[in-house]
Subunit: 153 residues, 2 copies
Amino acid sequence: MAGDQTGARKTRRPKQAGAYRVDQQIGFLLRQANQRHVALFAGLMGDKLTTTQWSALTKLQEIQPTSQNFLGRETAMDAATIKGVVDRLVARGYVATAPDPEDGRRLILSLTADGDAAIERNLDAARTVTDETLAPLTPEEREQLARLIRKIC
Amino acid sequence: MAGDQTGARKTRRPKQAGAYRVDQQIGFLLRQANQRHVALFAGLMGDKLTTTQWSALTKLQEIQPTSQNFLGRETAMDAATIKGVVDRLVARGYVATAPDPEDGRRLILSLTADGDAAIERNLDAARTVTDETLAPLTPEEREQLARLIRKIC
DNA sequence: CGTATTTTATTTGTATGCAAACGAATAGTG
DNA sequence: CACTATTCGTTTGCATACAAATAAAATACG
C-alpha cells in the first residue's frame, strides 16, 4: 500500500475551495449593471434613441466626416453591428451617407441638421442618465468605478 | 432695457461646463467591459455555451426544480429572454421540462445528467473567465469593483 | 507589374434583451 | 360565488452583438 498518501483522494470536486456562484461572478454583475443603465436610458431619453444609436450619433458629431467602420471602432461596435445602427439613423434622417471619392470601399458619414438637433435636444437627458446610473455612489466612488472599469476594458 | 441682466445670454450651450464625451460615460464603459467579458467567455468556455446559458444552467443546478420565469428572475432575464435560453438548453438536452401538477401555468425545469456533466466539464473554465476578466486588477481592486458594481445594480 | 494581403462594407445566421400583446390559470376581494 | 387582478408562459417585433462568408477596392511586396 505504498504511495497511497496522495493518491487516495479520488474525485475531489472543487479545484478551488469555495462554491461557484454565478451571481457573484464579475460577468454576471457587469451584465446586470449594463441592463440597469439601458433601462434608465430608455426611460429618460426622448426620441426612442438607444444607447448605441446615441453613441454613434455623438461620436459622429465629434469626428465627422468619417467612414462607417471607423465610427464602429470608435464606438466599440463591429462592422455588422455599426451597419445596422447607422442604417436606422439614416432612415430617421439623422445621418447622411456619401461615397468616398478617394476610396471606393468607404462610406462617408456625417450628421444632418436633424441629427445635430437630436443631440442638442437630448444632451441634458444623457447627462441625467449617467447621474442616475451612478446615483447610489459617492463622487469618490464614481471616480473609482470609472477608473476600475477602464482598466478591464 | 430693464431686466436684461439675466436675459441677455441667449442660447448658451453647455448647461454643464465640460464637453460631453460618450466614451467617458459610465454606460459606454459598462457596455465595453461587458463586451470584453463575453469575448473572453466565448474564447475560454467549451461546448459553445453563452454567458446567459451558463447563468441559467448553474443557477438551475442551485435551485432546481423551479419554474421558468422564476429562473429568469434569478438570472436577471425577463420572461421572453429566459424562454429562448431555456429552449436552447432543452434542445441540447441539458434541461428537462415538466408541467406543474399544482399550477397549470408553470413549467418546471430541472437539469439532466448531461446538463450536470456540462457544468462539471466547464466549471474550471468559468473560473478562469472571471480571473482573466479581472486580470488587470489587484485583489483589492477586484473587491472594490465588485462592491461598486453591486451598488449600482 | 502582378500577386498576395488587408481593408471596407455587406449579408446571413444565431443569440441575447426588452416592449407589448395575448390566453390560460391562479389568487385576491367583496 | 362572481369579479378583478395578478402571474405564467408564449409570441411578435425591434434592436444590439458577433461569427463567418463574401465581394470590391486598396495596399504591400517580391
